[in-house]
Symmetry: C2
Subunit: 210 residues, 2 copies
Amino acid sequence: MRMAELSAESGMPVATIKYYLREGLLHPGERTSPNQARYGDEHVQRLKLIRALLDVGGLSVATVGGVLAAIDAGEPTNEVLGVTQRALVGGASDVGEEARAWALDLLEKLTAAHGWKFAPEHPAAPGLITTLCTIRALGHPALIERIEDYATLADRIAEVDLDTLAAHPSLDRIVEAAVVGTVLGDRLFAGLRRLAQAAESGRRYPDGLG
Amino acid sequence: MRMAELSAESGMPVATIKYYLREGLLHPGERTSPNQARYGDEHVQRLKLIRALLDVGGLSVATVGGVLAAIDAGEPTNEVLGVTQRALVGGASDVGEEARAWALDLLEKLTAAHGWKFAPEHPAAPGLITTLCTIRALGHPALIERIEDYATLADRIAEVDLDTLAAHPSLDRIVEAAVVGTVLGDRLFAGLRRLAQAAESGRRYPDGLG
DNA sequence: CCAGAATGGATAGTCACAGTATCCATTATG
DNA sequence: CATAATGGATACTGTGACTATCCATTCTGG
């Protein structure tokens, strides 16, 4: 397959494919001469994955590059997931010393109650701390008071997540499956949550919330 | 409070505050003369909310403007949530007629099984359809095979969500609480899910996955 | 009361990001 | 072998989110 066919097959402009090649998101094709290359199905597949992470996952091109590089490098699954999770969760922002301590304490307790092995080094930690502190600063304690319930359900969903991963047949794509499961899994569940909220709201307030 | 104090209080540059005023995210202050104004605590509060939706929620300035306008206009709660959800979930992308039909059928079945009242007009629908089709196109059926489990857990979490909302004391801020609960609630749960996944993974594979 | 700082409002400039477009010296192909 | 396509480099565009500059008032401390 040559560039024009790859473009047709994937439905994206040649210029864009070249851009992804430059950025290292897409492997260079197999050289057939000093300045010609041939591409295969794996390139089409890769382009699909790139678009999914960009469009549905909302990651930046640079982040996608990092995630794909980790996959390609054959990093241990945990490391790839770490990269992915750091990307998804957004860095820490200044929340003040007192607020940070409060959030850490809260997470500490949650961890103990759920048999998690939480460490402040966990990739999700900075984002969680920021989110918790933001909710508190906005004055919405009700959300935080129910964090126990949310954590319990997070446990349940993590079981399903791991079942999903374990069910995956091919071992060489399990890391990709983990990334897709993490990035698109969040979107999927968020959507289902919306639907379920609407249903529950209709159940509780048949005349509308007003 | 005047501009310089509002800036100091909120920790953001004067130029940025002026920008939000221009974009209509922040109400103009109370005029004290044709070209002077005074600001209050509600402006500080509003700036916090804006930053939360921008930074933690990842919304665009234009989207935040739309959400806040809906809140200010005293739109019915469902409408405000609709605006918020459309913003969060991202529009539909071209997925092809066959794939769309498949996704709609899947959602139809899910809806029936869970007593939801799904309609393709639901704000979350386009995003869900896109996500489902993307997962399928990437060749990860395992994720979709477990959608029943995810939907069941979405039901459980929606109950907690509605409890959270119902617990809110002040009626005039309940719409804001709904927005915060939706936008930050997703982030919060995603973070907890990461923690729970790590714990479950450690439980199942004590020697690491990788 | 008045000099100097601050304000509201308008306009223009900057920076990063995600592409697009153009060139061009080779290759491929009918 | 004439025409089209390719890889690679470089330059350009458009959007989003600020950031900076001006300026005609307005405030404020001495």
